[in-house]
């Protein structure tokens, strides 16, 4: 019997400090046993339990795309016991990952569709995975127009800044980067909150267009009416949730929203689904 609680051993290959407050670091991990990488076949939108021996585990969205081989990547906010310890670790250190866990963004459904990605703050990780996945030369023709609205408090708080600049330069993706405010005279992108920029830049809804939205509760609260005004049906609004987790496989009981587990039945739900569930997230 396979033990779903046993992590794969991975080694930290690289650590990138993402934001100016140094609270977000990206960890690039390589499997100690190459065969484990095959077993860890994932889709964008899934997450994994990062295991730090002696500290515990944390559920973190997978920031790399399945099209990127040889490593998996996670961007971790320094918050609690495990994430704080992780922030002190060095390249070469050994840790574990368990997964992939949960469902993913609905890639079969999204095939041939326009995708509007709306993200805020550090909830951009699985959205990055999604963008890299869709922009892969083997995949780009499988999707229609791609819009990305991504905001952070300030330019220095944006994740993956080099990649954002690279995507800005492409003509097969519409980037709408924004910051809440900045005094940087060289800032050449948008200034304003994500809901405002969504109102200005997001395409009108149609049956062929899906919005994927991921961000802090306050952003979601004010973006949803904007999408409603643009005509997005609630089955065309896709969200990724978080709840406290331990097992990640639907057994330990804490991440439930009604009868659904965020870890196993989610973390991705449509707004239409969430409308029928208690607001316990």
């Amino acid at each position: 019997m396979q033990n779903p609680y046993l992590p794969y051993a991975v080694r930290i290959e690289d650590i990138i400090t993402e934001t100016e407050d140094k609270n977000l670091k990206t960890f690039k991990l390589a499997f100690e046993n190459p065969a484990d990488e095959e077993k860890f076949a994932y889709a964008a939108g899934q997450f994994a339990e990062l295991s730090v021996t002696g500290k515990g585990e944390i559920p973190i969205g997978i920031a790399s795309s399945p099209t990127e081989k040889g490593f998996v990547m996670f961007t971790v906010n320094k918050v609690g016991l495990v994430s704080s310890h992780l922030h002190t670790m060095q390249p070469g250190d050994l840790m574990g990952i368990r997964g992939p866990l949960g469902n993913s963004y609905p890639w079969e459904l999204l095939e041939g569709k326009n995708v509007v990605i709306i993200g805020g703050g550090f909830a951009f990780t699985t959205l990055r995975a999604s963008i890299v996945y869709m922009l892969d030369p083997a995949n780009r023709s499988r999707f229609g127009d791609i819009h990305v609205i991504y905001g952070a408090r300030s330019p220095g708080m944006l994740l993956y800044r080099d990649e954002l600049a690279g995507w800005e330069a492409r003509d097969d993706i519409h980037m709408h980067i924004t910051v809440d405010a900045t005094d940087d005279p060289h800032w050449k992108y948008n200034v304003g909150f994500v809901p405002t920029i969504t109102e200005k830049k997001a395409p009108q809804a149609d049956a062929e267009t899906y919005a994927i939205i991921c961000g802090p509760p306050i952003m979601i609260k004010f973006t949803q009416p904007v999408l409603d005004n643009l005509g997005y049906g609630h089955d065309h609004i896709i969200m990724s949730l978080e709840n406290r987790m331990k097992c990640g496989i639907g057994m330990c009981g804490r991440c439930n929203i009604g009868r659904h587990f965020v870890c196993k039945d989610g973390p991705v739900f449509t707004l239409a689904q969430l409308n029928g569930m208690p607001k316990e997230y």
């Binding site: 019997m1 396979q2 033990n3 779903p4 609680y5 046993l6 992590p7 051993a9 295991s51 021996t53 002696g54 500290k55 515990g56 585990e57 944390i58 906010n77 918050v79 609690g80 994430s83 050994l94 840790m95 574990g96 509760p217 978080e242 709840n243 406290r244 331990k246 097992c247 496989i249 639907g250 057994m251 330990c252 009981g253 804490r254 991440c255 439930n256 929203i257 009604g258 009868r259 196993k264 029928g276 569930m277 208690p278 607001k279 316990e280 997230y281």
Partner: protein, 356 residues
């Protein structure tokens, strides 16, 4: 179902023999309560109890259980790697478990044995255990098993059901595991048709003695959000002190926590029973808590047992009617009353319309 006679004179000697191939657990009197403990050679279980204070849940699913061991010593070649903890899954028998508590294992299996994932700790321990149940001739006033999918003579989850018949036990052998245990104990005297009739007679008497019932037939059709928003939760939760006693005593509560515990450079990854009554259960790293209020936690416990589970498994309620939470709740919260509120709830009944 096959029935055998076990003369009470052969009870202790049979257990002694079975002890050669099984580790034995049974109820032992501790103060005013009974607890399941491992029996020493020659020790017989105390069978004069109504029910044990704690169910036998912990014999398959310990309150605290090692999952992995590790060393953090960088001098060791396997440092920071988790190694499976050594476990004893040799055959064991639980003697005198009540039918409701045995049925609880069937119900909890739906959580730990799923198409996608199998919990190896629970499944191996469950497989190693033979359950030798004792039928309830004299149920407690708080027992409502007959309306919770179980019963005082139910064989669900049991390998053998013992029925006390004066000078002997009539033993219903329900499974091959039960057959193997009876063989190991040397109990093989087949019973005649009269035995089956006697069991049936006693069953009817015992079932008739259970005068506490829950109505559950409308729970499935109830709308989840309507029940969730019902006004009675404040009343239900008012006296609750979130002590968690109900969840720890419950044979069907399965929630757990996972923790690393390190002493020096050696450590273990443990799993411990957890409880939806505790705010830490759902506390996010950010400080946000989706069930930060007491009323939300109390509602979660009852909604899980009486609505979410009902909808998810289409197999009745997540409760076997053992009544422990009713007997031991320090503030007298009664799941039977909550079940009635949920089952009978209608929006119309909630209206504040003034009748003139």
């Amino acid at each position: 179902m096959k029935v055998i006679y076990i003369e009470k004179a052969q009870w202790a000697s049979g257990l002694e023999k079975a002890g050669d191939s099984f580790r034995l657990w049974g109820p032992v009197r501790r103060g005013q309560f009974y607890a399941f403990e491992e029996l020493a050679g020659g020790q017989v279980p105390a069978l004069d109890f109504r029910n044990t204070r704690l169910s036998a849940k912990g014999l398959v699913y310990p309150q605290s259980e090692k999952m992995f061991e590790y060393t953090l010593d960088p001098g060791q070649p396997d440092h920071d790697l988790l190694k499976e903890a050594q476990k004893d899954y040799s055959p064991r028998a639980v003697l005198g478990i009540r039918p409701c508590d045995a049925d609880a294992f069937e119900l909890v299996a739906r959580n730990f044995d799923t198409p996608e994932y199998q919990d190896p700790y629970w499944l191996r321990a469950r497989e190693a255990v033979t359950l030798v149940g004792l039928a309830c001739a004299a149920p407690c006033s708080t027992c409502f098993c007959t309306s919770a999918g179980s019963g005082p003579f139910s064989t669900k989850g049991l390998d053998i059901l013992l029925v006390d018949s004066g000078g002997n036990f009539l033993a219903q052998v329900a499974t091959p595991k039960g057959e193997a245990f009876a063989q190991a104990a040397g109990w093989r005297q087949p019973a005649d048709d009269a035995a089956a009739a006697e069991i049936d007679r006693q069953r009817q008497v015992a079932e008739a003695r259970i005068d506490s019932h829950v109505a559950t037939e409308r729970l499935r059709q109830q709308d989840t959000l309507t029940l969730h928003a019902a006004p009675f939760w404040d009343d239900v939760a008012f006296a609750c002190i979130n002590c968690g006693t109900c969840t720890y005593l419950c044979p069907t509560c399965w929630c757990f926590d996972i923790q690393d515990e390190t002493h020096g450079r050696q450590g273990v990854r443990l799993r411990n029973w957890d409880s939806c009554m505790f705010p830490l259960f759902t506390l996010h790293g950010s400080g946000h808590n989706p069930r930060g209020q007491k009323v939300q936690r109390v509602r979660q416990r009852f909604m899980h047992k009486l609505k979410y589970y009902v909808d998810k498994y289409e197999n009745g309620i997540q409760c076997v009617g053992c009544g422990r939470c009713v007997r031991h709740c320090p503030v007298n919260i009664d799941i039977r009353k909550v079940c009635e509120l949920m089952n009978s709830y209608t929006l119309a009944g909630d209206s504040c319309a003034v009748v003139s």
